[in-house]
């Protein structure tokens, strides 16, 4: 029952995601009246569900950003805060990035639970506000000029052009919705994967994993969000900022998809690198920022005529305020849930830089006399530990981060039932499963020792050299590491 309550905030977040982010893919089409809202909502919902269920359940990004929150009540509150923020922005018809609202809410949790906030995630958000719209505007301008010239040269009948534009808008919109489902379902439901109430089932001869059922439920919530509440944001994107022509609407969605595909696709990067081609630098992008940038690009091409600067100002303010608002709401709600409902919103963690850790650090080239003074001390708070290590040693920020990560204590034990569940959910390859089973019943105080032993058992558990070709493999493996440590940590509330 409690789990269902927790699940509700994930569903609420899914609903707000659908209500807001579907506008990025179908807003221009609906705003220019090329596709009726009902049809757009139907296509969008179907492809969101397919994307989330088929592609979203892959191991590479299943946990999502919320995986960082280590207690279910905490995840519930963080998801609720992000959802409330997105709902607030949607009520004001403003397109915002749901993942940025989530990151903001997680920072609120970090501050509340004394966890360390990765400064990278903050700079990533800020750079998305600037880089992504500029890239997308440039793409839209180039595409629009090319497309207009093409259309004029082809001498297509106005009605044939209308038909083709409509088909283009539907195809790009469907693809965009598929990606929306695949990339965002992790943020909506990923955190519940480890506490999944659904078991594997065989439906009409097709076996459906528990994770897929969970993601299907989340995707339905997104679909309901699209149907019930996305129309107003769609109209802002499709006509509020600038009155678009159907061709411009198509260019906007195409520019947006291209920017996301070229500058955010690790698969493309791996493909290019493995074929000896130069890679495109990856930059943080978000569909909400990309779509607004593309609309502005079209406006600039017409020398700024018709751009409604007031709406643009409101949208920009919405971008800046959404992570901040989510952080503040999250902090306040966490305080409330923690103190009024007496629910544990973060798990107590312990850190100790024992001899094993010092030896491992040495092997990694991190050595400092000051570390020896920490050997017998256990910390309850990573922020305080970092301050202490900083005062005792001359280590840099990256090295400090590594010390903290390695010092995190746990109570890990590999159990056959857990291995079987992970294998059934598609997390493990045969070699990875066999290696895990060989370490069955071993106990570990530090997660990294478990991972080191696994790497020694099988190459399937080994990180590869840090090259572009290996980036995807390493990323997926690290995600599996996170999942393993979550699955085999036997203590809910550890003490050293």
């Amino acid at each position: 029952m409690e789990l269902l309550l927790y699940l509700s905030s994930g569903l609420f977040l899914g609903w707000s995601l659908g209500a807001n982010n579907a506008a990025n893919v179908f807003g221009p089409a609906v705003g220019t009246r090329m596709i009726r809202f009902r049809n757009a909502a139907l296509i969008s919902s179907i492809f969101v569900v397919i994307g989330a269920t088929v592609s979203g359940a892959g191991a590479a990004h299943t946990l999502g950003s919320l995986g960082a929150v280590n207690a279910l009540a905490g995840s519930f509150t963080v998801a609720l805060s992000a959802a409330l923020t997105v709902l607030w922005m949607t009520r004001h018809n403003l397109p915002v990035s749901t993942s940025q609202a989530i990151v903001g809410a997680i920072i609120g949790w970090n501050i509340y639970s004394n966890s360390i906030t990765n400064t990278q995630s903050l700079s990533k958000i800020v750079s998305t506000w600037v880089v992504c719209p500029i890239l997308s505007a440039a793409f839209a301008m180039i595409l629009y000029v090319l497309m207009r010239e093409f259309v004029l040269r082809m001498k297509l009948h106005l009605l044939h052009l209308d038909n083709l534009t409509r088909i283009g808008l539907i195809l790009v919109g469907a693809f965009g919705s598929y990606s929306l489902g695949a990339n965002n379902i992790a943020n909506v439901m990923g955190v519940f994967v480890t506490a999944n109430p659904f078991s594997d089932k065989v439906i009409a001869g097709i076996s459906v994993t528990g994770a897929q059922q969970l993601f299907f439920l989340g995707a339905l919530a997104i679909g309901v969000g699209v149907f019930t509440y996305s129309e107003r944001v769609m109209k802002t994107v499709g006509g509020g900022l600038l009155k678009l022509t159907p061709l411009a609407a198509f260019v906007v969605v195409l520019a947006q998809s291209l920017v996301l595909f070229l500058f955010a696709s690790e698969r493309l990067e791996t493909f290019l690198a493995s074929h000896g081609l130069p890679t495109i630098p990856l930059v943080p992008v978000s569909s909400s920022q990309a779509v607004v940038g593309a609309v502005l690009g079209i406006g600039l091409l017409k020398r700024g005529a018709g751009i409604r600067y007031k709406v643009m100002g409101e949208i920009s303010l919405g971008w800046i305020s959404s992570p901040i608002l989510a952080g503040v709401i999250s902090f306040l709600l966490l305080f409330f849930v923690d103190n009024v409902f007496q629910k544990q919103v973060s798990r107590q963690e312990y850190f100790r830089c024992g001899p094993d850790v010092i030896q491992e650090l040495k092997a990694r080239g991190i050595e400092d006399e000051g570390l020896l003074e920490l050997e017998s001390r256990t910390f309850k708070n990573p922020v305080r530990m970092r301050e202490t290590v900083k005062s005792l040693t001359s280590l840099g920020d990256a090295q400090l981060h590594e010390v903290i990560q390695l010092s995190r204590l746990g109570d890990y034990q590999i159990k056959a039932s857990g291995v079987r569940k992970l294998y059934d959910d598609g997390w493990l390859s045969d070699q990875q499963r066999d290696a895990l089973l060989r370490l069955k019943d071993n106990k570990y105080k530090y997660g990294w020792i478990l991972l080191r032993d696994l790497a020694a058992e099988s190459a399937a558990w080994r990180l590869r050299a840090d090259t572009v070709e290996n980036k995807l493999w390493n990323k997926s493996l690290q995600e599996k590491y996170r999942m393993l440590l979550l699955t085999f940590d036997t203590s809910a509330n550890r003490s050293p």
Binding site: T32, R33, R36, K155, L158, L159, D162, N163, I167
Partner: protein, 213 residues
């Protein structure tokens, strides 16, 4: 699959509508010729043809209008296209109304003025034809619209000039005042065909600029 059936049907209906207007424009000149030659039987046949064309053009333009709204086609240009069809329909209406007046009032046109009426009818007929070409371009090759619309404006100015000299000729003649006024009324009516074409071409130029932006 790409160019679905209903779209094809509407395209062919628009083409047929323009064909009707073009045909009416082409028939207008020989109809006036027949009248001036006092071959009233041939004139009546032409008038009947125009009446049929006008009725068919009306049916086509209503069908296009209904289909476009029912299927939400070209939302951005729908108003423009329907406005254009309406103003083009006005050309064929004016042709029919003018010929009807000839049929009803039987004006007695002195031979000295035949040439003037023929030249005026020719300018109007050419204007209507240029308008149809410009409209076809609007749908397929929007960049050519301005050139073709320019021709319509040219023929309208020509019609103005011819009509002016014709009216002067009428009032300089020894005819009775009532007859003079009657003939001027006919010169004005024939000239209205080119005015209707010009009106449609003006709309067309603006819509074409809108599509180019």
């Amino acid at each position: 699959m790409l160019f679905t059936g209903p779209t094809r049907t509407i395209i062919s209906e628009i083409d047929e509508f323009l064909n009707k207007v073009s045909e009416a424009g082409l028939i207008f000149l020989p109809a006036i010729e027949d009248y001036l030659k006092r071959d009233f039987q041939a004139f009546d046949v032409r008038l009947h043809q125009i009446q049929m064309l006008e009725a068919e053009a009306d049916t086509k333009s209503h069908a296009v209008e209904n289909q476009m709204y029912a299927r939400s086609l070209i939302p951005e240009n729908r108003g423009d296209v329907l406005g254009l069809l309406e103003s083009t329909d006005n050309v064929i209406d004016t042709i029919k109304a003018t010929l009807m007046l000839f049929s009803q009032e039987h004006p007695d046109i002195p031979e000295a003025m035949h040439n003037g009426f023929l030249e005026l009818a020719e300018a109007c007929s050419l204007g209507a034809d240029a308008l149809v070409s410009a409209e076809r371009s609007f749908f397929r090759d929007v960049r050519a619209v301005q050139d073709l619309a320019h021709k319509v404006f040219f023929y309208e100015r020509e019609a103005d000039r011819i009509s002016d000299s014709l009216k002067r000729l009428i009032f300089q003649s020894d005819l009775e005042l009532a007859k003079k006024i009657h003939l001027r009324h006919f010169a004005t009516n024939v000239e209205e065909v080119s005015d209707a074409a010009e009106n449609a071409a003006q709309r067309l130029s603006i819509y074409a600029i809108k599509r180019m932006v």
